[in-house]
């Protein structure tokens, strides 16, 4: 990416994980974070927040992560915002699938709250080159 990563929009339905991610990304990482509990909420609020990055859980009740990303990308101001998926199940062929629909990478769950921010930063910088 050509600019610095500051704002992350995270779509995750589970409250416990939301809370850990807030510490991992806001407190440890120093990022500005907005969390949405569903794909619908993300679609309604993303444009106003104008994130630098989408972080999406794959499996959610209602709209899943990939579908949410597709809809988010339909919003003109968000069409180029990069995305990272988070999921409990990653097999290498799935990672490829996610990349094909425009994800920078996939972060497997469980994640370590103390290093999640570093990991995201590394992915971001890797794609800056």
């Amino acid at each position: 990416m050509t600019h610095e990563l500051k704002k992350i929009l995270y779509v995750e339905d589970e409250a416990d994980i939301q809370a850990v991610a807030t510490i991992a990304l806001e407190t440890v990482g120093g990022y500005q974070l907005k969390i949405c509990s569903s794909g619908d909420e993300a679609i309604n609020t993303a444009a106003a927040f104008a994130p630098d990055l989408f972080l999406l859980d794959v499996m959610m009740p209602g709209m899943d992560g990939p579908t949410t990303l597709g809809k988010l990308r339909e919003i003109p101001s968000l069409k180029d915002v990069p995305a990272i998926f988070m999921t409990a199940k990653v097999q290498s062929n799935e990672v490829e699938q996610f990349k094909q629909i425009g994800a920078l990478d996939v972060i497997p769950k469980p994640f370590d709250p103390m290093t999640l921010a570093e990991r995201i930063k590394a992915i971001w910088e890797n794609n800056s080159a």
Partner: protein
């Protein structure tokens, strides 16, 4: 945003982990319910829901440190995903496998929650000794501003050992941004920055000017000349330390500036038979952050004096039963209340009556109706002096803890209170192990630091309602109201174990300090005297057992 202290983050994560543990049984129950319903009839919606919960367990359990649970959930996840979108129920062998997995999940969940209960028990947190807000959850936040990152980080680490939470800023700009958002309890500011030789002082001057409340600031500088010091004072700085920084000096200054005790609201007792008026005064004073109690019947005052321990009495002169003047005399008969300020309130404007009030032991005379501002300021200024005076008489000068005499008085009072209210009470005597060696090896200055450090630790770790005293040279005593002996031991054991790990530095040398403790309580000894004797015997026993331990005698 600056990196917050790792301790603080870990503490928050522990909190989240606990709440995750609390949610776990509910999730496992849902899994069981859905699985039972599937066994009774295969339905796509149900399997989707079950898969989603299991999948989310697979992802979340490991994040909270329950890897085994995550792995088992994942095996169910892998099986179940194959049965989504099919009408076909799985073969019996697969059903058995799933049944097995869900049983395992449930038993792991049980052991996780049981373990959580046990660890709570062993820290005493839920046994009957609940730490209060003074405890580690609310640490004093310190901002340290220094462009030399390495030395600042090292100093920050050392200060954090003393129970402060330190955030380091390497530039004045970063500090200014953050202070607007979350003001700290105190600031440690370097004087010289690339922006100028007094840039640190300038920044503080601007911030102090914008603030309604003074922000405690300690300057650190390589230069100790008068001009710098004067500048520092004029900018609103409270202390000026020269580099190389003596960590003990920094911590002691922080302790004073953020003072452990002395921040409580002043306790004011209003004695007035007119309920509405008393309530009115109380509201005015409470709005000024004072702790107010009302007595409408003057005959009730003696019990309230003991329980509430007011720092000032505001009293009407004319009341039924006895006059305020008589009541003041009665109060003054007890030597413990000789220094307690008594302020009379009356519509009486006659000089003669006012002089009489003062002769009877009153400290001031306020005429009703009184201006609210006047009431607040005269009450606060007297209460302030009363507290300072009381502290000078009752506190140990080295540690700021209660002295021996006051602690014994307090024990008498607390034992009476516990008997009357039917509550528990525990008394602990603490003695530093091999303290003489510290003095012999490192000198008395280091010995004094150790004593102050233990005093600080007790102050920080115990509850606000616990009463801590320096009982003798290297001996401390703690009164723990409303606490049984076992819970007191849990709480003090935790402090003892942590303290034994702490390194004390003298130059390049390090040493550790341990302490022994004897505990007794109202449940086994009936008088304050008997409690002290028994705690002393228990302490002796702890020393005999090899020190660094706590003993309760049967």
């Amino acid at each position: 945003m600056p990196k917050q202290s790792v301790n603080n983050i870990e503490e928050k994560l522990r909190g989240l982990r606990n709440s995750y543990i609390q949610h776990l049984p509910g999730k496992i129950k849902d899994v069981q319910k859905l699985w039972n319903s599937l066994c009774n009839g295969w339905q796509n919606e149900t399997i989707d829901e079950l898969h989603r919960i299991v999948h989310s367990l697979a992802g979340s359990a490991g994040t909270f440190g329950f890897a085994q649970m995550g792995e088992i959930a994942r095996s169910a996840d892998n099986i179940l995903k194959n049965y989504r979108d099919t009408e076909m129920p799985p073969h019996n062998s697969v059903k058995d496998e799933l049944e097995d997995i869900f049983e395992k999940l449930s038993s792991i969940c049980n052991s996780i929650t049981e373990q959580a209960e046990e660890t709570k028990d062993s820290t005493g947190l839920d046994v009957g000794y609940k730490p209060d807000h003074k405890n580690s959850t609310v640490k004093n936040r310190i901002f340290m501003v220094d462009d030399d990152n390495e030395s600042a980080s090292e100093l920050a680490l050392q200060i954090e050992q003393f129970g402060y939470e330190v955030t380091v800023f390497n530039s004045i700009e970063a500090f200014k941004k953050e202070i607007a958002v979350t003001p700290p309890t105190a600031v440690i500011m370097d004087v010289v920055f690339p922006e100028g030789e007094f840039a640190g002082i300038e920044a503080v001057r601007k911030i102090q000017r914008q603030r309604a409340v003074h922000l405690p600031v300690i300057y650190v500088s390589t230069y100790g000349d008068l001009k710098s010091r004067l500048n520092a004072v004029r900018s609103g700085g409270d202390a000026y330390l020269t580099k190389p920084i003596d960590i003990n000096m920094v911590v002691e200054t922080l302790d004073i500036l953020t003072s452990f005790h002395g921040n409580d609201s002043y306790r004011i007792l209003i004695v007035d038979d007119d309920k509405y008026l008393a309530e009115h005064y109380a509201t005015v004073l409470r709005n000024a952050d004072l702790d107010v109690k009302i007595v409408n019947d003057p005959m009730d005052i003696m019990n309230v004096l003991v329980d509430f321990n007011p720092e000032l009495i505001l009293m009407d002169i004319y009341m039924p039963g006895c006059t305020g003047l008589e009541l003041a005399k009665v109060i003054r008969q007890n030597v413990s209340y000789l220094n307690l300020p008594i302020v009379f309130l009356s519509t009486e404007t006659g000089q003669e009556q006012q002089y009489a009030a003062l002769r009877m032991g009153g400290d001031d005379f306020l005429t009703k109706p009184i201006d609210e501002g006047h009431l607040i300021s005269s009450v606060i200024s007297r209460a302030q002096r009363s507290r300072k005076l009381a502290e000078a008489i009752t506190r140990d000068s080295l540690t700021g803890l209660l002295n021996h005499a006051k602690l014994r008085d307090q024990l008498d009072i607390e034992v009476l209170r516990a008997e009357r209210q039917g509550t528990n009470l525990t008394f602990a005597m603490i003695d530093i192990d091999f303290f003489k060696k510290v003095n012999d090896n490192y000198g008395h200055v280091v010995g004094d630091h150790v004593i102050r450090d233990i005093a600080r630790t007790l102050n920080q770790q115990l509850r606000r309602t616990d009463i801590i005293g320096r009982y003798g040279g290297e001996e401390f005593a703690v009164i723990l109201p409303d606490t049984d002996e076992k819970s007191a031991k849990y709480a003090l054991d935790k402090i003892r174990e942590e303290y034994a790990q702490k390194h004390h530095a003298v130059g390049k040398e390090h040493f550790n300090i341990t302490f022994s403790c004897g505990i007794s309580g109202i449940s086994s000894s009936k008088s304050a005297e008997a409690i002290v004797v028994k705690a002393d015997e228990a302490l002796y026993e702890a020393k005999k057992k090899g020190r660094n331990c706590i003993v309760i005698l049967p």
